[in-house]
């Protein structure tokens, strides 16, 4: 580069947090509740052959798929920007999760007590990958208020993993979920407990 590094404008550091959970668990609602803009949508075009497509005449034959992700942005001073990505729901898009999880601060798994089993795949995924995560039980109106211990038991959640109640429609409540995750991730990564 012809630029002197010191003369280049400083870019804020981007940090990402994933918001996972079953269909209808409130992922986009939570993203929208804390984000400074309405939730945005980005798309990745995927094909069976992956990268390196150079001939559009055969695009159809390669069964092109579009994966859409909703996301939001929170600007944290001039040094950091936090992005919240709702994970694409279909399990055939695990490789998109891999790209999202790479270098992420951690994940929020939203649980809907009416369909608790829907968040098992997300929990399995983050456990296997070693991504720090917390479980947030979204308290829908009219849904039975579960005791958190009951949910922890039903999800067979490791005792070290935080679980909190939340209302994904509310900014303060969703913000508390993020704070719980950031603290949890810092504890795991900065002050590792000796085995």
């Amino acid at each position: 580069m012809a630029f002197d590094r010191s003369e280049r404008p400083r870019l804020p550091t981007a940090i990402k947090i994933l918001v996972a959970g079953g269909f209808g668990a409130g992922k986009t609602t939570l993203v929208g509740a804390v984000s400074e803009t309405r939730p945005l949508r980005t798309e990745e075009i995927l094909s069976d052959r992956g990268v390196g497509i150079d001939d559009i005449s055969s695009v159809e034959a390669k069964r092109t798929t579009t994966v859409a992700m909703d996301f939001g942005r929170i600007t944290l001073g001039s040094d950091y920007v936090l992005y919240l990505f709702g994970t694409p729901g279909q399990e055939r898009f695990w490789f998109v999760w891999d790209e999202l999880a790479e270098g992420s601060l951690g994940a929020v798994v939203l649980a809907d007590t009416r369909r608790l089993a829907d968040c098992f795949p997300s929990i399995d995924y983050f456990e296997r990958r070693g991504t720090p995560f917390v479980v947030a039980v979204n308290c829908f109106e009219g849904a039975r208020t579960f005791e958190l211990d009951e949910v922890r038991l039903a999800l067979q959640l490791n005792p070290s993993i935080p679980i909190v109640l939340c209302d994904a429609r509310k900014r303060d409540s969703s913000r508390e979920v993020l704070i719980t995750l950031v603290k949890h991730s810092a504890k795991l990564r900065v002050e590792p407990v000796a085995p």
Partner: protein
Amino acid sequence: MNTPDHDPMGEPLDEHWVDPEIIRPYVVTRGRTQPAHGKFDLISMALAIGPPPGPEAGLDPEHLSILRLCREPKSVAEIAAYLDLPAGTIRVLLGDLFDRELVSAQEPQSEVDMHDMNMYRAVLDGLRSL
């Protein structure tokens, strides 16, 4: 989207019809799927630098849209969302701008240290003051 089965002249379209939503990204990048330089992920940040380029720079309208958007730092995901183009297309166009030294861009994870307590403190402080 609905795929029409007749063209604007009323002629039936044959089986080689390809969804324009799929074609547009390839036209914009002239068929390229990988940026010439830089490895941008969804949260790579870009910022326009230097004076706005004139017509002699030979940039496409999409390049100019990116430069306008990036007067403030924006991520690949945001640029893609605002321009309604797939993230892969934005990576290619950003690579062009990066090559011409019209944007400053951050490669993925190059600056984020997930073991840096100062980062966690800054994020917590920021979230608490929302």
